[in-house]
């Protein structure tokens, strides 16, 4: 495998780009592995990578029913930040952000992580107070935060709707400078390539259709490419978690599948340097500009449970209204595409990285619509769990039994209704 370097890019530029090889092998599945990860999104691929790199495991497969990154990994709005506040979440997302900061070097693959800053607009004195509290929490726990007044905000982002008669006048912003965006496909490909180099088999077009059990253990998986055995099995299938759970005969989960849409406009010249978030009185909207120039944005879920990867029209209207209320200059820009992904919404809005009722099955799920930023961290902690057969203390409370203990990890304080979390 050719290493990416300035010299190799230059050399291949002179030789018609003919000197590059495949980025990962296309292998036939073996009959048995030490670890089988189901799901070839960021989380599954990152898990395999850290299992091989950090824990030295050799015989690992990632099974993906379609193509890697064809699920939510390739459908999200790519916002990366660490401003979560619940104990456990705080440390987890900070760890993940630190991994992002060195990811391109670690993987020898440019994931285009751009720390352009995450700017949450504030519209009421109450919101300013809450932001101050968040600021203190972040600063006291080794992260970064800023509060911008109106003057500073106007300098940084001059074309927001600052009209005094706006329905929700802007008072300032809570900012995390180290937050930003990344190129979603590149992250998937980067992890796949790096894992493959360490000997991980990445097996695409391989759908898990059944789970074979002997009492409290999984003995193998029936897939569209034959039976595959694994000493340890990890599920990392985002919106399809309940289906795999059902195949394993494990009953119910504190998870519902809901769909979230994302939108992109025609490309524009550079307009917006940051990620901007607008959330007030029932609206929820986030927007950034991709490197190609398209305005990438999204809002709330489609509001009803669904496994269909297609979005509905009322949300198109909602997000368009939000876009125009904070960035009226977008009024005549055309929408290019919108699409949706199936999200594993949990009962308290937080994730599960945990052991399961079966001895050799491990679960990584419940990412709601915030699991892109979590990808490196989830891979890191899930690999740690699988290799050591015990959760790291940072994810120790993120198990399936926390509701039984009365321990909800509810960032939004929205209660046990999956569609209300984010």
């Amino acid at each position: 495998m050719t290493r990416f370097s300035a010299w190799n890019v230059f050399r291949n530029g002179l030789s018609g780009q003919k000197g590059w090889d495949r980025q990962w092998r296309d292998v036939e599945p073996k009959a048995d592995y030490d670890v089988v990860i189901v799901g070839g999104g960021i989380h599954g691929l990152a898990t395999a990578y850290y299992l091989a790199k950090k824990h030295g495991l050799k015989n690992i497969a990632v099974l993906e029913k379609g193509w890697i990154g064809g699920g939510n990994a390739g459908r999200n709005t790519t916002i990366v930040r660490s401003n979560y506040f619940r104990p456990g979440n705080r440390e987890f997302y900070e760890h993940s952000l630190k991994l992002w900061e060195n990811l391109s070097h670690d993987l020898n693959y440019n994931v285009m992580f751009s720390q352009r800053g995450h700017v949450s607009l504030l519209h009421s004195p109450g919101a300013v107070d809450a932001a101050a509290r968040g600021y203190n929490t972040l600063r006291l726990t080794g992260s970064d935060a800023e509060i911008w007044g109106l003057e500073e905000l106007k300098q940084e982002i001059p074309h927001l709707n600052y009209a005094a008669n706006a329905r929700f006048p802007i008072l300032g912003a809570a900012v995390q400078r180290r937050a930003g965006t990344a190129r979603h496909d590149a992250v998937v490909w980067g992890y796949a390539r790096a894992a493959d180099q360490l000997g991980v088999d990445i097996i695409q077009n391989c759908e898990v259709l059944g789970v074979r059990r002997d009492q409290g253990r999984i003995t193998g998986l029936d897939t569209s490419r034959g039976a595959i055995g694994g000493s340890k099995i990890g599920f990392s299938v985002a919106g399809n978690t309940s289906r795999l759970w059902d195949m394993a005969g494990l009953g119910t989960l504190p998870i519902e599948s809901h769909k979230l849409q994302a939108f992109v406009t025609e490309p524009l010249k550079p307009l917006l340097d940051h990620v901007v978030v607008f959330g007030v009185g029932g609206t929820h909207f986030y927007i950034s500009q991709s490197d190609k120039g398209g305005m990438v944005f999204g809002g709330d879920l489609d509001w009803y449970k669904s496994y269909a990867q297609r979005g509905n029209l009322p949300i198109v209207q909602d997000v368009s209204e939000c876009a125009l209320s904070i960035l009226p200059c977008l009024g005549r820009v055309r929408l290019l595409r919108h699409w949706s992904g199936v999200c594993d919404m949990s009962m308290d809005g937080s994730h599960f990285i945990c052991k399961t009722p079966l001895d050799n099955l491990y679960l990584n799920a419940g990412w709601n619509y915030g699991g892109f930023k979590a990808g490196p961290g989830a891979g890191w902690f899930f690999a740690d769990l699988i290799a050591n057969d015990r959760p790291h203390e940072i994810v120790a409370e993120h198990d399936l039994k926390r509701f039984e203990r009365g321990y909800n990890i509810d960032e939004r304080g929205a209660g046990p209704d999956p569609k209300l979390h984010g």
Binding site: S242, L253, P254, E256, K305, A308, L313, P416
Partner: protein, 94 residues
């Protein structure tokens, strides 16, 4: 747009309704065990296929409905009024 045939108002866009959630969940008696309450409040089947769910016709007659809907295709198989007495009255007005 999903269209829901409200027994009182006729067929309307789903944007007139709010989504309740899994309509098959039955709350246990107040003094039921913790395990029963855990199941009702936190645990879900999360069916891919036809499930019963509750919808509130909030911008219409304001009635709660029970809808059988396919979570993969969004096809609706049946709509009835959630309150059993009212549903019975609709079916048998005598």
């Amino acid at each position: 747009m999903i269209r829901i045939n409200c027994p009182y108002c006729g067929e309307r866009d789903h944007s007139e309704f709010t989504y309740g959630g899994d309509g098959s969940v039955k709350y246990p008696a107040l003094d039921a065990s913790m395990e029963d309450w855990l199941q009702a409040v936190f645990q879900r089947e999360n069916i891919r296929g036809v499930q019963t769910e509750s919808w509130h016709h909030v911008n219409g007659c304001r009635m709660w409905l029970l809808v059988e809907r396919d979570t993969m295709t969004h096809e609706i198989h049946s709509v009835r009024v959630a309150h059993p007495g009212l549903q019975q009255a609709l079916e048998d007005p005598s």
